[in-house]
């Protein structure tokens, strides 16, 4: 009866009002032979026991704060989150509320998400942001749905950069398996050193969408202006999957002409949490707003003349349009959108610029020092942000095993996704990595046999 606030006397009075004798009598409609199964589950723990059990399991992990020095990124980044963020998230008024369908008593959520939308549009330079998606990968897949809807299914091809996160490419393939979409650009033969213009030749009059990443999966910064111009020349849309920390420093995807800008906002105040929940952001041009999935919050006025906010354009959504909806999406990542809004507000313009600069500086220091080691070197010469590809003298998996023995998470082993990069590590450096940690990594690698 852990959380059930009903006494036996009250229960009996209630049963009498209902007109049945026992609780079990409420279930006569359930087929008798399957009614009341014996569930083979561990017996209930008290709160004290559960707290200890969960703590025990958690402590058998090696975390990047307590045990390991981490240079692992590849789509999830170890950043500092100001204390304010979690204190706001722990307000029951925010986390125990539902979707703001009743705006009169949900203005807290509504205004916070409206501000999140505003922060995201200003960060990306785009015109509109929705209230968020499950994560960066599903946001990218929703960009495909937007393009598919925009061309009413008449264009069937998407061109995907081989340097888009491999898991994002997998998710796009999963999402589109019922649509008869052709996906090109990221085959095994793709040249990983060719710049973005290499994709141009694959864009044709059947192409609905081109998807690139910024900085790309290997950390490289490209200006996609020319690619976008050429794609637009063929009538195709372009989606940029962008890193929010990098966008604080770099030219906005909007200024390159992107039609859709999506990405993973986990770096903005959301813990690593073994992969989720994270926060997919989705921004686009106003002209595509009716084709965009997800919730949207708009400004209005209440009947007392007060500025206020409501869910708007809900006619696009599943509960009205049912099978004709652009997506079945129902929830957003509300609380985490709030987390990122608080993160952006607390660090503010200055703090965010400091974070971006620290990431950039430390990554470049690490890259310079690592490439001085015999047998190691940078794989690409392009400008990078806070992640780079390190060429190693041995398979990356072996390098990682060796580093782990020294308490270091070395980086992402690229061999699994890119056979030609079996000896390559994707190394991420953030403001959390001290010079001492970077120097330790370098020293340990110098001593590798």
């Amino acid at each position: 009866m852990t959380y059930i606030p009903i006494s036996p006397n009250e229960r009996d009075a209630m049963l009498e009002k209902v007109g049945v004798k026992t609780l079990d009598d409420l279930f006569d409609a359930v087929p008798k032979k399957h009614r009341f199964p014996e569930l083979s589950l561990p017996p209930a723990l008290t709160e004290m026991e559960a707290a200890a059990h969960l703590a025990d399991m958690a402590s058998s992990n090696e975390s990047v704060r307590e045990h390991l020095i981490s240079f692992l990124g590849a789509g999830a980044y170890n950043h500092y989150t100001p204390a304010v963020v979690d204190h706001i998230l722990r307000r029951g008024e925010f986390y125990t509320a539902y979707t703001p369908y009743q705006p009169e008593i949900s203005q807290g959520t509504l205004q916070a998400i409206f501000e999140y939308q505003s922060l995201m549009t200003h960060l990306t330079g785009m015109e509109v942001s929705n209230a968020s998606h499950y994560d960066g990968a599903t946001a990218a897949a929703e960009a495909v749905n937007l393009a598919y809807a925009q061309f009413r299914g008449k264009r069937k091809k998407i061109v995907v950069s081989p340097s888009l996160h491999p898991q994002y490419r997998e998710v796009i393939r999963t999402y589109t398996q019922g649509l008869g979409v052709e996906i090109t650009g990221d085959g095994e033969a793709a040249d990983l050193e060719a710049g973005p213009e290499a994709l141009t030749s694959q864009v044709d009059s059947n192409t609905m969408l081109v998807i690139v990443q910024y900085p790309d999966f290997f950390g490289r910064i490209y200006d996609y202006t020319k690619l976008i111009e050429d794609a637009h020349g063929k009538g195709a849309l372009v989606c940029i999957v962008a890193n929010p920390t990098a966008m604080v420093m770099l030219k906005t995807p909007a200024s390159m002409g992107a039609d859709v800008v999506v990405g993973e906002a986990q770096p903005f105040g959301i813990p690593l949490w073994f992969g989720g929940p994270y926060l997919g952001f989705f921004t686009t041009k106003k002209s595509y707003v009716h084709k965009m999935a997800g919730r949207l919050i708009g400004e209005t006025t209440d009947n007392r003349g007060q500025r206020s906010y409501v869910l708007t354009l809900t006619a696009r959504e599943q509960h009205i349009k049912r099978e004709r909806a652009t997506s079945n999406i129902c929830s957003n990542q509300g609380l985490l959108a709030l987390a990122s809004a608080v993160y952006m507000s607390t660090l503010g313009k200055t703090g965010l610029q400091q974070v971006a600069n620290l990431c950039y500086q430390k990554a470049h220091y690490a890259a310079a020092e690592l490439s001085k080691i015999d047998g190691f070197g940078l794989c690409f010469n392009d400008t990078f942000f806070h992640e780079f590809v390190l060429c190693c003298p041995r398979p990356a998996s072996e390098v990682n095993e060796y580093l782990l023995e020294h308490g270091i998470l070395g980086g992402y082993d690229l061999g699994a996704d890119y056979p030609s990069l079996a000896n390559h590590l994707l190394v991420a450096v953030t403001e959390m990595n001290s010079k001492e940690e970077i120097d330790t990594l370098v020293e340990v690698l110098k001593e590798m046999e």
């Binding site: 609780l23 307000r91 509320a97």
Partner: protein
């Protein structure tokens, strides 16, 4: 001009103010990228920490939440969110583990995932469970993809039709629509069950399957569920169960035992994960033996068997005919799985059955109290929720007015205008975490409102009166489409 109750974070910004600052760099400085790769300005707010805290604290007070009071939203299962879950999910071992760490360094996470999979299988009677889907609708999409993959793998290519009852959640047809399937709507009969004749007529060899919510959105357990399952299976279709209403079934009946092939769980409804103002949810999916090979990858599993002395090594496996990956990484681990694990661990088999029994008792008690004042179109023993009509003979008061007036009595309104098959629907789900006093007061308020509807209808038409905000102009929001704060003075948009 409208009055501003709380300025936006941009309006509160003042150039030069700083919040949390970062340490100075401890590495030699290198040049930034060339100027043509840099942005020229960053139009983000500048505030002190206290400004931010007060802003969001004030905003929070405009919200009504489960921690504030009764929140009887039908089909949303707004139960109390235990505080211990908030602590367990923030243990450093969970917060600060990277999803791509070597499995040897995250055995605690992987054991939790494995055990949760096993528990959900046991609770639902399924043979396999994926924890990857991010929300209920995402789980539905996962389920429908598996149903399509199952038929395709058997070379059964002419199946394009999904059967969906008229009482279904809108996500069901939308999920089928995402795969280009055609949706055939099956009506309900006069007792709120699936109409068997209509179903029989729709069953043929083009049926992918049927998506059923049971108990359905009327709160009714389908009295012919076994015949429904049999009809669909006899024509070669698969049975999808929408787990939105699973709270009524814990320890009562297992969907897998009834013959369902696939069902999503809403950890944020049934298993007390907070709704967070609209997310994140968490939507694991359970499947019967015939679909286990189609589960998304990666799937939590044992990669090296243990023995008496050595613990098994937990990791990830790839099902033989997997539909692929539904999202990056492994699912909503911290916010969803850890909380749900804590909740199930603290209930055990008997505690889970209590949840369902008291959820159903509370709903039936409220239904009994309101019977006579409100029309209950499908009036029999309900499960965890029931639907009343929010209208009265000879009155122009509508469900919306009743919902808004309830706010003046300090209650969150029930779901309204859903399900679509009931006129002016008020869909009421009290959950098991409410006491008798609350239910009595809520029933009293609804009975009082029914009187007000006759005596002073305008009181309802203009409600709410005591909330910080009144009714919104939704037409204006959609027409003007202001989706973003205007930039404060001094900023130029880069475009």
């Amino acid at each position: 001009m409208s009055t501003i109750v709380e300025p936006t974070i941009f309006e509160l910004s003042s150039p030069g103010r700083t919040g949390v600052t970062m340490p100075a760099s401890d590495v030699p400085t290198v040049d930034l990228p060339p100027k043509d790769l840099l942005r020229s300005e960053l139009p983000l707010p500048e505030l002190a920490e206290v400004d931010v805290v007060r802003h969001y604290t004030r905003l929070s007070k405009f919200n009504y939440s489960v921690d504030d009071g009764f929140y009887p939203l039908g089909s949303c299962t707004m139960k109390y969110n235990p505080k211990i879950n908030e602590d367990t999910c923030r243990l450093p071992g969970y917060l600060f583990t990277h999803p791509l760490q070597p499995i040897e360094t995250v055995q605690g996470n992987l054991v939790l995932m494995f055990e949760l999979q096993e528990w959900l299988k046991e609770i639902s009677g399924f043979a396999g469970v994926t924890l990857q889907p991010a929300a209920g609708a995402h789980g539905e999409f996962t389920g429908v993809l598996m149903m399509a993959a199952y038929h395709k793998q058997r070379g059964d290519t002419k199946r394009t039709k999904m059967l969906i009852p008229d009482a279904a959640h809108g996500t069901n047809p939308a999920s089928a629509g995402m795969l280009g399937m055609s949706v055939v709507t099956i009506p309900s009969d006069e007792r709120g069950n699936v109409d068997l004749k209509a179903l029989e007529a729709a069953c043929d060899d083009t049926v992918v399957g049927m998506m059923v919510t049971n108990p359905n959105t009327l709160g009714m357990f389908d009295e012919h569920i076994e015949q429904v399952v049999k009809l669909v299976k006899d024509c070669g279709g698969l049975m999808y169960g929408d787990g939105a209403n699973l709270n009524a079934l814990l320890g009562i009946v297992r969907p897998g035992d009834l013959g369902f092939d696939v069902m999503h769980f809403n950890l944020h409804k049934t298993f007390s994960v907070p709704h967070g103002g609209g997310g994140p949810g968490s939507g694991p999916v359970g499947v019967s033996e015939r679909l286990v090979d189609f589960l998304p990858s990666p799937l939590g599993g044992i990669v090296e068997e243990g023995d008496e002395d050595i613990e098994p090594l937990y990791g990830f496996v790839t099902p033989k005919h997997s539909i692929g990956r539904m999202k990056a990484f492994h699912g909503h681990f911290g916010g969803g799985l850890v909380r749900a694990y804590t909740y199930i661990a603290m209930h055990g088999p008997d505690g889970l059955k209590d949840i369902a029994q008291y959820a159903v008792l509370n709903a039936n008690y409220l239904q009994a109290k309101l019977r006579g004042t409100y029309t209950i179109p499908f009036d029999r023993i309900c499960m965890h929720e029931f639907v009343a009509e929010g209208r009265f003979e000879g009155s122009d008061v509508r469900a919306l007015d009743i919902a808004k007036r309830l706010m003046d009595y300090k209650f969150h309104p029930p779901t309204n205008y859903f399900p679509l098959i009931v006129h002016e629907a008020l869909m009421i789900e009290p959950t098991e975490t409410e006491n008798k006093d609350t239910l009595d007061k809520f029933a009293d308020a609804l009975i009082k409102i029914a009187e007000e509807a006759k005596s002073q209808p305008d009181l309802l038409h203009n409600a709410p009166h005591t909330t910080p905000f009144g009714r919104m102009d939704e037409v204006k929001a959609a027409r003007e489409l202001v989706l973003c704060c205007w930039l404060p003075e001094g900023y130029d948009s880069e475009k």
